[in-house]
Amino acid sequence: MRKSLYAMLLLFALVLPLLAACGGGTAAQPTAAVAPPTAAVEAPTAMVEAPTAMVEAPTAAPEATAAPEATAMPEATAATSGTGTIKIGMVTDIAKLGDKGFNDSAWEGVQQAAKALGVEPKVIETTDPNDYQKNLDQFISEGYNVIVTVGFNLQEATVAAAKANPDIKFIGVDQAQTDVIPNLAGLIFNEDQAGYLAGVLAASVSKSGKIGAILGTDAVPAVWRFGEGYRAGAISIKPDISVQTVYHNDVGFDKTFSDPEWGKTTALSMIDQGVDVVFGAGGRTGNGALLAAADRKDKGVYAIGVDTDQYLTVPEAKAVLITSAVKIIPDGVAKLIQTVADGTFKGGNNFGTVGLAPFHDLDSQVPADLKTKLTDIQKQLLDGTLKTNVPAAKPGS
């Protein structure tokens, strides 16, 4: 009796693939039908592309390597003429879309580029870090030829996939390349330059002569560069300024960027010691520092955000957020994808642009001559005439 019932359970398990097979038959067309709606939401013009989606969506047939084997050059012309042989996929890290950070920014860039090329990109959100490889394989097996992976956690999987699939172009956001692989471009940023600009601004607007920064772990070179760039920028304005940088090194890697309580408490104690500009750089930990500054608004404290324009992502801090030290990820991603279409794609490290976000509500508090100075410094940093002299990573780490 018991056996027969387990047999039923087993039967159910066996029926699943059958259901799937039935579904598969009907699925081929619906997929195409499904593709346009996103387009419809984003941009009415993309509606035109529906037939294109129709061609690329059904999964079974193109799995054979026929189409995707073609290399960059012919695709480029094809894509610009609108037949859509460039297929762009993106794999997020486990923060997924909606992180208001790397993943969202990269996806914005992918969508920009895809729109310019007249194709429909697809995204797979990683929910389990054991799936990086699998999610990449999904795009590879479906004949995608431009695959964007977001975050340094995906570096190992991306490098392996790039080596195994030399005909596919990979773009690794925030992945510094140690060896040049011709079909893998790492999009990285000179965080020290962004931090430097933030430091110049902070030192210029500080009245107390004490500024601070709340950061994630300095074991991540990008975080270290933000912090030390900030210090260098501040000292370049006022050599005697007090710059307190606190890295959240006392916790695990899973926590160091997601500890807003610690960020807030630490920032509050800094502010209570007279610090009047707080730079928060470290995911949600850094966001805690921005909230702390918002709490002490009446003391005339300023906050500086990081990575993206945090005026938009941390609205609670709008009133005190003077700017954000931003990595312009969308443009960087979009440009790299465009190079695939143009046939000028190059492997190795690509530096994206860094800068400061708009001053928004506090625009009136930034004197015109300071704005000019910031623009000049940014120009000098980008063209290399001004160096931050911050090493690439914390010495000895």
Binding site: Y6, M8, L9, L16, P17, P36, T127, N130, A219, G252
Partner: protein
């Protein structure tokens, strides 16, 4: 999973259990089907309503087709599902075994972490051993780590009466922090390019060999473990004692069974299975211990044990279902581009309907309450039992 009026013999128990499996097997099936229907409504709400797609129904079917094909639709998909299900089977068995002793082991997460830590430590720190020694040593280390971590709440419960739910939750935190400390500190991969909290790679000799491309031997070990747990619980005296303690600790004590010893043993064995889940991930999938890589598996295993009615076969089936759902999420999202969180919603729905099923049974079958309190024993878990 309503339990047996114990005290006579196992044979009588089996005879009385004739009708039980009907409910035991059909109700989870109904739960799953109901969940898929309600999940379909949610997918429908999340999806676009198109011209030519009759009220968006195609979209829902398309989503499910992707889910099922991604989980079971090809050899590659099935292999991937099996790999995903492997830690679920071990950890699900762990929770089920503790349940059989009347213990609610929330600590599979921490025991799994300790298993991964021990296995990783043995895997990367020893070199030059032949695979025949290194691999078993790695897995045994994982089992030992889990066993010790599971035994702590067992001893605390047996000696002091501290509730295992509280102590295992706290030990989860300790395990997480310990892992974070080791992987960010002394055990961190010293490769200068490494920024991730992870150990160095384990030696080749510690790798679980592949059965098929992409499928390591761990899945066979998991099936063997399920058989072993079944044999242990239902065919050995120790297993009988554990189940007796779980059914009625007071009666067990009267019958001369050492309740304390059984609690410690059951928690230790439970931890050992969870530790093996971690060790198999290290030796078969990641080839190193990485911070956060197996987060959540221990908690999922509680649901898996419950869905599987705390029987080994049930755990294997529900682990395959969970593994399939997780695995199919990728293709489902690829096809439909809806958020992968939907899959988590569907999983949660399955559990809600299982819970609802118990409520329904409780409403319609007045005599069940005594059985209910036997099966989970949450309410009687305080104090020395």
């Amino acid at each position: 999973m309503r339990h047996f009026p114990f005290g006579v013999s196992g044979v009588v128990m089996n005879a009385q259990g004739l009708l039980r499996p009907v409910r035991a097997a059909l109700l989870p099936l109904l739960s799953i089907l109901t969940a898929l229907i309600v999940g379909g409504v949610i997918i429908w709400l999340a999806g676009p309503k198109l011209n030519g797609d009759w009220l968006g129904v195609k979209f829902v079917l398309d989503g499910y087709a992707g889910l099922f094909q991604g989980a079971f639709g090809s050899q590659k998909a099935i292999i991937s599902t099996l790999v995903r299900a492997t830690p679920y089977i071990f950890a699900g068995l762990a929770v089920a075994l503790a349940f059989r002793c009347g213990l609610f082991n929330i600590g599979a997460e921490g025991q799994l972490a300790l298993g991964a830590l021990f296995a990783g430590g043995v895997g990367f720190s020893l070199h030059g051993l032949p695979p025949l020694i290194h691999l078993p040593l790695t897995l045994l280390a994982g089992m030992l780590g889990g066993f010790l971590w599971g035994m702590i709440p067992g001893i605390l419960k047996a000696r002091t009466g501290a509730h295992e739910v509280i102590t295992t939750i706290m030990l989860n935190y300790i395990a997480a922090q310990l892992t974070g400390y080791l992987l960010n500190g002394p055990w961190k991969d010293p490769n200068p390019n490494n920024v991730t909290a992870q150990t160095p790679k384990i030696a080749e000799a510690a790798h679980l060999p592949l059965l098929l491309p992409g499928l390591h031997w761990g899945v066979i070990l998991a099936f063997l473990a399920a058989i072993a747990v079944w044999f242990f619980l239902w065919k050995t005296t120790w297993g009988f004692e554990i189940r007796t303690v779980g059914a009625n600790a007071a009666a067990a004590r009267c019958a001369g069974i050492n309740v304390s010893r059984n609690i410690v043993l059951a928690m230790g064995l439970s931890g050992m299975l969870a530790g093996l889940a971690g060790a198999v991930q290290v030796a078969g999938v990641n080839y190193r211990t990485i911070l956060g890589f197996n987060a959540g598996y221990g908690f999922d295993s509680i649901a898996i044990a419950l869905l599987g009615r705390n029987t080994p076969l049930g755990v294997v089936l529900s682990a395959l279902l969970f593994g399939g759902l997780r695995n199919g999420a990728t293709l489902m999202q690829f096809r439909t581009q809806i958020s992968s969180d939907i899959i988590s919603v569907i999983q949660a729905l399955i559990l809600i309907f299982i819970a609802a099923e118990q409520i329904i049974r409780w409403i319609y079958r007045v005599r069940v309450p005594s059985g209910l309190s036997e099966q989970v024993t949450l309410s009687k878990g305080w104090g020395k039992s």
